[in-house]
């Protein structure tokens, strides 16, 4: 299976390259696609976290208390009912906000900031970064932010090398800071904690939280499939992002992982065919240096995909 995919990369890129030769750009983009496929395999490992605990059985568990924040609640949740010595676990930061209120993605866009956690964990436990489900566009003309309205669960992985004796409990605590916004913004702070008892047995999934974790997993950006051919080009005042895929759609948009890359609120011109998505992304006026990689998430109707494409430099004649 994997071999077949690998075989497909050069084939699909070949068509692309033939076109590009005509545009005197083939050399740059050959490198682009090869580098990309290697990079994607590495990314797959990184993002695969959410699937690690997929095989667990459901069971009943007591819900943890949620903490009131302005215009909503936040709660630290565990996907599993107990903690097994030496085994990682998945926790989630669950927000429920009043209608119209939102929190922010890792790149919040033009305003706001993402939620942050400061952990207090027992020895041997270490918290990973928040894994960000696909963001939603939050337009506040003339600006645009990226974030989540209403309800969202932000999962993260806890590495565990602790040799907890069965029957003992572990308290996982974190100080959370966020900004909750609608037209106006209100800072939110919460002290969150979760108590899990250690058990030598493989932990069972909590029935109460399973649906939330499943939904978060579904909304997690996936590595771009290996048979996609992704390329980015500097056009002077904009970037062109091209994706060759059998699953092309015109209902597609790009969210940059870094700030100061594109003008978030600028319309993204889409030129799509059955096998190709081409997005024209207006550069941020604050981007002063050439960008080496275009890094972000491509949001499509069937889900979101991670994009990390080297940017082919602008043609020599550059009009500004």
């Amino acid at each position: 299976m994997a071999q077949r995919n690998r075989f497909l990369i050069p084939t699909s890129c070949l068509e692309r390259q033939i076109k590009l030769v005509a545009n005197f750009l083939s050399r740059t983009l050959t490198t682009t696609c090869r580098q990309l496929s290697g990079r994607l395999r590495r990314e797959r490992v990184r993002v695969g976290l959410a699937l690690v605990l997929a095989g667990m059985t459901a069971s009943v568990s007591a819900g943890e208390p949620s903490v009131a924040i302005p215009h909503g609640t936040v709660e630290l949740m565990s996907e599993q009912q107990s903690i097994q010595p030496g085994q990682p676990l998945v926790l989630g930061l669950h927000f429920r906000l009043e209608p119209g209120w939102h929190i922010y993605w890792i790149n919040p866009g033009d305003s706001g900031e993402p939620p942050r956690l400061e952990w207090r964990l027992p020895a041997g436990l270490r918290a990973g970064d928040i894994e960000w489900p696909e963001p939603h566009r939050l337009p506040i003309p003339p600006l645009l932010d990226y974030g989540y309205e209403g309800e969202v669960l932000l999962p993260l992985r806890i590495e565990n090398t602790a040799g907890l004796a069965p029957g003992k409990t572990a308290t996982l605590a974190a100080d959370m800071k966020a900004i909750v916004c609608r037209e106006v913004c209100v800072p939110a702070k919460a002290q969150l904690s979760l108590v899990l008892s250690a058990s030598a047995e493989r932990p069972r999934k909590s029935a109460e939280t399973a649906a939330l974790f499943d939904a978060a997993r579904k909304a997690m950006p996936k590595p771009a499939p290996a048979n996609w051919c992704v390329a980015a080009k500097d056009l002077g005042d904009s970037f062109e992002l091209t994706v060759h895929t059998a699953a092309a759609s015109s209902q597609v948009w790009f969210a940059p992982l870094d700030p100061l890359v594109i003008e978030n609120a600028a319309p993204q011109k889409t030129v799509s065919s059955k096998t190709e998505i081409r997005l024209i992304l207006r550069k941020s006026d604050q981007l002063l240096k050439p960008l080496s990689r275009l890094h972000g998430v491509l949001v499509m109707p069937q889900g979101a995909y991670m994009i990390d494409a080297p940017v082919a430099p602008a043609p020599t004649k550059q009009f500004r």
Binding site: D110, S111, G112, E113, I140, P141, P142, L143, D145, K177, I179, C181, E183, V184, C185, V186, P187, P259, L260, D285, Q286, L287, L288
Partner: protein, 202 residues
């Protein structure tokens, strides 16, 4: 009385039409004329020869409060205006939105906070905000004595509403002014302007 404020900001029309494209560091800062909270008009081009700071402001925004209630912004205003910098606080909140103030309310606020900008420009139409593509409060711009934009971004590198973060933050505005005044290039000429969205009229 209220209607008067809608027209309080008169922008140089030529600047608007010619430079509608972009405000970009390294390029001439678009010219404007705007009226302050004492009714006095200010034209950017008349301040050639001086550094000019533009500070987008909304007194209800938690990020603005961070810098005012801690005294940080007032301290910066005093420090830099004493060194000859022209400092304009700009309020682009539309009537009925957070941060909108009448001239009297703004003067009252500045007295209460001990704020010390050169002037507070009232921009309820959002024209000046749109001209500079001001995104957040506080969004900061610095214009060099020869009228070129040399900084466009955040006030510092800690994008939070927490005043406790000020002590450990790198203040981009002070750094840029210090560098530019000693003839050095600005090390960080752009940054993501963190804060609340500017409350423009919809």
């Amino acid at each position: 009385m209220k209607r008067g404020f809608a027209g309080i900001v008169t922008l140089v029309v030529m600047a608007l039409s010619i430079l509608a494209l972009a405000v970009r560091v390294g390029e001439p800062a678009p010219n404007f004329t705007a009226t302050d909270s004492n009714g006095k008009p200010h034209t950017l081009s008349s301040y050639r020869g001086k550094f000019v700071v533009l500070e987008w402001h909304n007194q209800g925004c938690p990020y603005t409060k961070k810098h005012y209630e801690s005294g940080n912004m007032e301290r910066l205003q005093k420090e830099w205006t004493q060194k000859g910098v022209v400092w304009f606080t700009v309020i682009s909140s539309a009537p009925g939105t957070q941060g909108y103030v009448t001239a009297e309310q703004e003067n009252d606020y500045m007295r209460r906070m001990n704020a010390a900008p050169t002037a507070a420009l009232l921009d309820p139409t959002g024209d000046l905000g749109h001209l500079y593509d001001a995104k957040t409060t506080p969004h900061m711009f610095i214009i060099s004595p020869d009228g070129v934009l040399i900084y466009d971004g955040a006030i510092d590198d800690k994008p939070t509403p927490d005043p406790a973060d000020i002590a450990t933050s790198r203040n981009y505005v002070s750094l840029a002014l210090t560098e530019a005044m000693s003839g050095k290039p600005v090390d960080t000429p752009t940054s993501r302007p963190y804060g609340c969205s500017v409350k423009y009229a919809h």
